[in-house]
């Protein structure tokens, strides 16, 4: 039995959880309610500070594993958490503010734990802890039947997804004989290589079901149908949260599961076909559905589906694209790093857009939602308008916005994976996937442009106006500021994404059959090429930044 994990390693989560309780109690008195958002902010920052002191932490036990990936997810979740808190500063009704903010903190606690979960049980619980507060936040953020309807839909499908995930987990547990993920890797990936055995059947069913359930968290097709309703019914700042928290949680879980199947190390299992179809379907369906929306919230929701599709491209490529033998995989070879970068950038841009929507009111006091509502915003609220446009350009992936760097990494890693990796046998499919993806990102430009056009090009006699609230404005501006920073200085975030995957890369490498180079089939190579498949490093040019060292800060 592994020794229990040290409490100091869990300190950030403990701070968050205790903070959540404190905020909950603060909500009992009027004075406390005024204080609650500040305390929330302090808790998040304090937790982040602790995380920063633990950057080289490697600890395991009690179903948790703190390594590079957990570090990245902690930092990302807490930083985005600060933004989310700012944007949601005064979202709930005053008497519910304590509850609202404490649920927010609990959801983030879950997200942190998802990043560190190394056990099926822990992973499931953490996913649930991430999700359940979001259902409530949707309902609490506003009065009226729309919030209730939205929250109910989200909740029901979330419960279904949880059941499906748990069912899949149960099979994986059966194959591995233990719930520990690290211990399960060899069993599951070995089972997937022996068709005809019971273990194969169990593993196959488990993997497919698990991934299917996780697609819900990612809002990927075909489990996307709820998302637009949910976004539309949710208050805008909460919808901004929905674009990040469940997605990052789903992705973190997906990484663990894909690692489990041995897809990255040996290309086996149902992962490739499944995710390929899902990626294509998500991109296409999301973009096509987004095209005909008039509500910006629905539009962003469907665009989120498409973005989930892009992210899956990186998940497919895996953390080991360029060089399976040397262990060196740069950004363009590391799909997972790109996904991590992308989800953060997407989260910020999405949150920024929703923050703008949440900040504004129509002249009649209603919520700003349709394109008509924001028409001519530039004249009345120039900062908001520019921020919205910036967010849209980022989502569109226009260079040099951070969204572009994300797509660079995602598509580049898929192309690299098509060349030289354990999964190079899927090469042509990967290339086809990239082409579909770029065409989709062009298609997506059409609807993002509609928003931009509405905001910047159109005139409107009755434009929306700011509803006040300084913190949400600060939050929105911070989103914009971060987007600009990441546009011109993306190295830090990209590098930290890269170092975050050291853990996954190492694990994949460890699981890779010894002669990875031999596995790579010759048909992926050009006929006349006599070069080895793996990049030699003998030309004196070492990696510019060694993998595994955080380049952030």
């Amino acid at each position: 039995m592994t020794p229990p994990i040290a409490l100091t390693a869990l300190l950030p989560e403990i701070i968050l959880a205790v903070g959540a309780c404190a905020v909950l109690l603060l909500g009992l008195t009027p004075g406390g309610r005024r204080l609650a958002p500040w305390v929330t902010l302090a808790v998040l920052i304090g937790s982040a500070a602790v995380v920063l002191t633990q950057r080289s932490l490697t600890a395991g036990g009690s179903g948790l594993l703190y390594g590079s990936l957990a570090y990245f997810i902690r930092i990302a979740a807490l930083e985005l958490g600060v933004l989310i808190t700012l944007v949601n500063w005064s979202q709930a009704a005053a008497h519910e503010r304590g509850e609202f903010l404490s649920l927010l903190l609990l959801s983030l606690t879950g997200l942190l734990l998802v990043g560190a979960a190394n056990d099926l049980v822990m992973l499931f619980l953490a996913l649930e802890l991430t999700s359940i507060p979001t259902y409530i936040l949707i309902v609490m953020g506003r009065t009226g039947a729309r919030g209730a309807e939205s929250g109910t839909k989200y909740f029901y499908l979330g419960a279904l997804a949880a059941a499906i995930i748990a069912y899949g987990f149960s099979f994986l547990y059966g194959v591995a004989g233990t719930a520990s993920l690290t211990a399960a890797v060899s069993a599951v990936s070995a089972a997937l290589q022996q068709p005809g055995t019971l273990a194969y059947g169990l593993a196959m069913t488990g993997v497919v079901l698990t991934i299917g359930g996780l697609l819900f968290k990612l809002a990927a097709a075909p489990l996307h149908f709820y998302i637009a309703d949910v976004y539309q019914g949710a208050p805008s700042p909460v919808a901004g949260l929905l674009g990040f928290v469940p997605k990052l949680a789903g992705l973190a879980a997906l990484f663990r599961i894909v690692l489990l199947t041995g897809h990255w190390s040996a290309g086996v299992g149902p992962v490739f076909g499944l995710l390929w179809i899902v990626a294509v379907a998500s991109m296409t369906v999301g973009n096509v559905l987004a095209l005909r929306q008039v509500s910006i919230k629905r539009l962003l929701a469907y665009s989120g589906v498409a973005h989930a599709g892009y992210m899956l491209v990186g998940v497919l490529a895996g953390p080991l694209a360029l060089s399976a033998e040397s262990g060196a995989s740069g950004l363009l070879g590391n799909g997972v790093a790109s996904v991590l970068y992308y989800v953060v950038v997407y989260g910020i841009a999405n949150l920024g857009a929703f923050a703008v929507l949440g900040m504004l009111r129509t002249r009649t006091g209603g919520e700003v939602e349709t394109l008509r509502d924001v028409a001519g915003l530039l004249r009345r609220e120039p900062a908001a308008a520019l921020l919205l446009a910036l967010a849209m350009f980022t989502l569109m992936g226009l260079p040099p916005t951070p969204g572009f760097w994300g797509k660079l990494g995602l598509f580049g890693s898929a192309l690299a994976a098509a060349r030289v990796t354990p999964i190079a046998e899927h090469g042509p499919w990967l290339i086809a996937l990239v082409i579909i993806a770029v065409l989709n990102s062009a298609l997506a430009a059409a609807y993002y442009l509609r928003v931009i056009a509405a905001v910047l090009l159109y005139e409107n006699d009755r434009p929306a106006e700011s509803a006040g609230g300084e913190a949400p404005q600060v939050g929105a501006l911070l989103c914009g500021f971060l987007l600009v920073i990441f546009a011109f200085v993306p190295s830090g975030l990209l590098g930290s994404g890269l170092s975050a995957t050291a853990e996954l890369s190492d694990a994949t490498l460890a699981a890779t059959p010894v002669h990875a180079a031999d596995r790579t089939p010759t048909r992926a190579a050009p006929a006349e090429s006599a070069r080895p498949r793996v990049f030699p490093r003998a030309d004196g040019e070492a990696l510019a930044v060694p993998v595994g060292r955080p380049a952030l800060e």
């Binding site: 363009l332 260079p399 040099p400 430009a445 090429s529 990049f535």
Partner: protein
């Protein structure tokens, strides 16, 4: 010093854009003046850089660059993206052209733009920065970034200050070009990955020189890869050019754009496509270029004829000029894909000349529109009597555009057609068909000129509208705008070697030699390229391409020489 100039070229307008956008309300009227000053400074900077070119050429040979700046930008595990800019003989003429057109387009907006002035000039300046950036970029990804970034300012310029259908036009313009360029993006990514693989480097970069000196033949990109990569690049550039079936966004965008937008669009932005073909497609995937040269030329010729025929039936004079661009850029592409030295240099020359003459024509149409609020050929006529100065410039630039000997258009059109006739890759039929474009050009241009300038005076009711300090004929400001272009038209018509002298060796060493290499590396390519053209097709014996001669320079330039090791 030079690098400062180049930085000025790119960052000054960018900074100015920010400053102008942030000007306080009461200083809004100074926005135009400020922009003009900035424009003039960039013009001076581009001229200054141009002036340094001969010395640089003398020192470093035909590939010499002026104003080279190289900084590591994004250096993350395994990827190195550099901010690397520099101007060589190929890009410098286009930069100077841009430098000329930017202040002119600022100046022509003084009276035309009345609303949201600060925003307007801010976007204009941002556009200028992006355009300079594209031409200066020496890193393929940087090129792509600037290339894409031009879309944003122009989108707003068209969408806010354009005509009645401006939003539709802006969207269509944006989407068309964006769709193409994302495919290009995928191609570039694949290219960079393969390049690193071929060179055996563990760091992926997008260095233009490295990519355009990539190993050819066995061990390099396969023929199929080259073909596909060419198509990927084609997707972005051909839409930008625009080549024939992909041109539909252009007339709309041109027509709806404000004058300055049209000028820059026609004068500079369309050249981004041709420049992309020249800079990227040909040297990086020469085999693909050779393989696809035929279809490219077919499209070019189709564009020439189709564009000309469309011009013929236009009643909207601005649309007419727009369609003429389709036709003219067809010439440009035809010359380029003749794959002959004169074709290439003629093509570059054509880019510059088209920028001058078509830019000027758009300026003139804009001036006309400001006075008559119509561009309908049926509603105006006989204006030569009202506006003699206008008529002078109009006729001058029309003739330049048609290709009257002595004016700039002639030289480029002639060389391009000559190359097409003589190209062993294409064959004379292309030249012959292309030549009909000249004929048609003369017909529609002169027809339009006749309708606008001559015959009985015809003016819509209530015009000319002389508000905003206009005079019936051109004002002094407008004359000052047109004069430099007129001078350039004449100078380049008389002495095109101003451009071609430094250009030819650069083209030869950077592009033609690359094609030769490709031919040498693979017999298929050599067969496709055909035998060496007849000597009389070449200006002078010394320029005869030495097909099989070994290149003196090493194929792969060591990193250390090109700017030191990474980081």
């Amino acid at each position: 010093m030079e690098s400062i100039l180049l930085n000025v070229l790119i960052f000054l307008p960018l900074g100015a854009a920010g400053v102008i956008a942030a000007l306080p309300e009461r200083h809004a009227r100074q926005a135009g003046s400020l922009a003009l000053v900035i424009g003039l400074i960039t013009l001076a900077a581009s001229l200054g850089l141009a002036a340094r070119l001969p010395a640089a050429l003398a020192a470093d040979g035909p590939d010499a660059q002026v104003g080279q700046v190289q900084r590591d930008w994004i250096t993350v595990g395994g990827v190195a993206l550099r901010y690397h800019v520099g101007l060589d003989a190929v890009s410098l003429p286009l930069v100077v052209l841009t430098g000329v057109l930017v202040p002119l387009s600022v100046a022509c907006s003084f009276t035309a733009i009345r609303a949201r002035i600060r925003e307007y000039y801010a976007w204009l300046m941002a556009l200028a920065a992006a355009m300079f950036g594209v031409y200066a970029a020496r890193d393929v990804l940087l090129f792509y970034i600037f290339f894409e970034f031009t879309l944003v300012p122009l989108y707003f310029l068209i969408g806010i200050w354009g005509g009645s259908e401006r939003r539709y036009a802006a969207n269509k313009f944006f989407l068309f070009t964006f769709v193409g360029s994302v495919l290009t993006f995928a191609g570039l990514l694949y290219l960079a990955l393969r390049a690193a693989e071929i060179d055996g480097r563990s760091v992926i970069d997008f260095d233009l020189v490295r990519l355009s000196t990539l190993r050819l033949g066995p061990g390099g990109l396969t023929a199929a890869e080259q073909s596909v990569l060419f198509l990927a690049l084609f997707a972005g550039f051909a839409i930008k050019v625009p080549l024939f079936p992909l041109h539909t966004w252009l007339p709309l965008a041109h027509t709806e754009a404000p004058t300055a937008g049209s000028v820059l669009l026609a004068g500079v932005l369309l050249k981004l496509g041709t420049y992309g073909f020249l800079r990227l497609s040909l040297p990086i995937v020469p085999e693909g270029a050779v393989a696809w040269a035929g279809p490219m030329a077919v499209l070019a010729v189709a564009g020439i004829i189709y564009g000309a025929l469309c011009c013929w039936v236009q009643r909207d004079v601005k649309k007419l000029v727009a369609y003429s661009s389709v036709s003219h850029l067809g010439f440009c592409m035809l010359g380029m894909f003749s794959l002959l030295p004169i074709g290439l240099s003629g093509s570059v020359l054509y880019m510059v000349n088209h920028g001058i003459s078509t830019g000027a024509l758009f300026l003139l149409v804009g001036m006309l529109y400001e006075r008559y609020h119509t561009r309908d050929l049926d509603q105006i006529g006989g204006l030569a009597r009202r506006m003699p100065v206008f008529a002078f410039f109009f006729v001058l630039f029309v003739l330049s555009s048609i290709g009257l000997p002595g004016l700039n258009g002639f030289v480029s059109e002639f060389t391009v057609l000559l190359a097409a006739f003589n190209s062993p890759r294409l064959g004379p039929w292309y030249g012959a068909l292309g030549a009909t474009g000249i004929l048609l050009g003369a017909i529609y241009m002169l027809y339009a000129t006749g309708k606008v300038l001559f015959g009985p005076v015809k003016e819509p009711v209530g015009t000319p509208d002389l508000s905003g300090g206009l005079t019936p004929d051109l004002t002094r400001r407008e004359i000052a705008i047109l004069t430099p272009l007129a001078v350039l038209a004449v100078v380049l018509g008389v002495y095109p070697r101003l451009i071609t002298d430094p250009l030819d060796p650069a083209l030869k060493s950077q592009i033609l030699a690359r094609l030769e290499q490709a031919a040498a590396a693979r017999p298929v390519v050599a067969a496709q390229m055909g035998p060496a053209p007849r000597p009389e097709a070449i200006f002078g014996e010394k320029d005869r391409p030495r097909v099989a001669a070994p290149r003196p320079k090493p194929q792969v330039v060591p990193v250390a020489q090109r700017g030191g090791p990474l980081r």
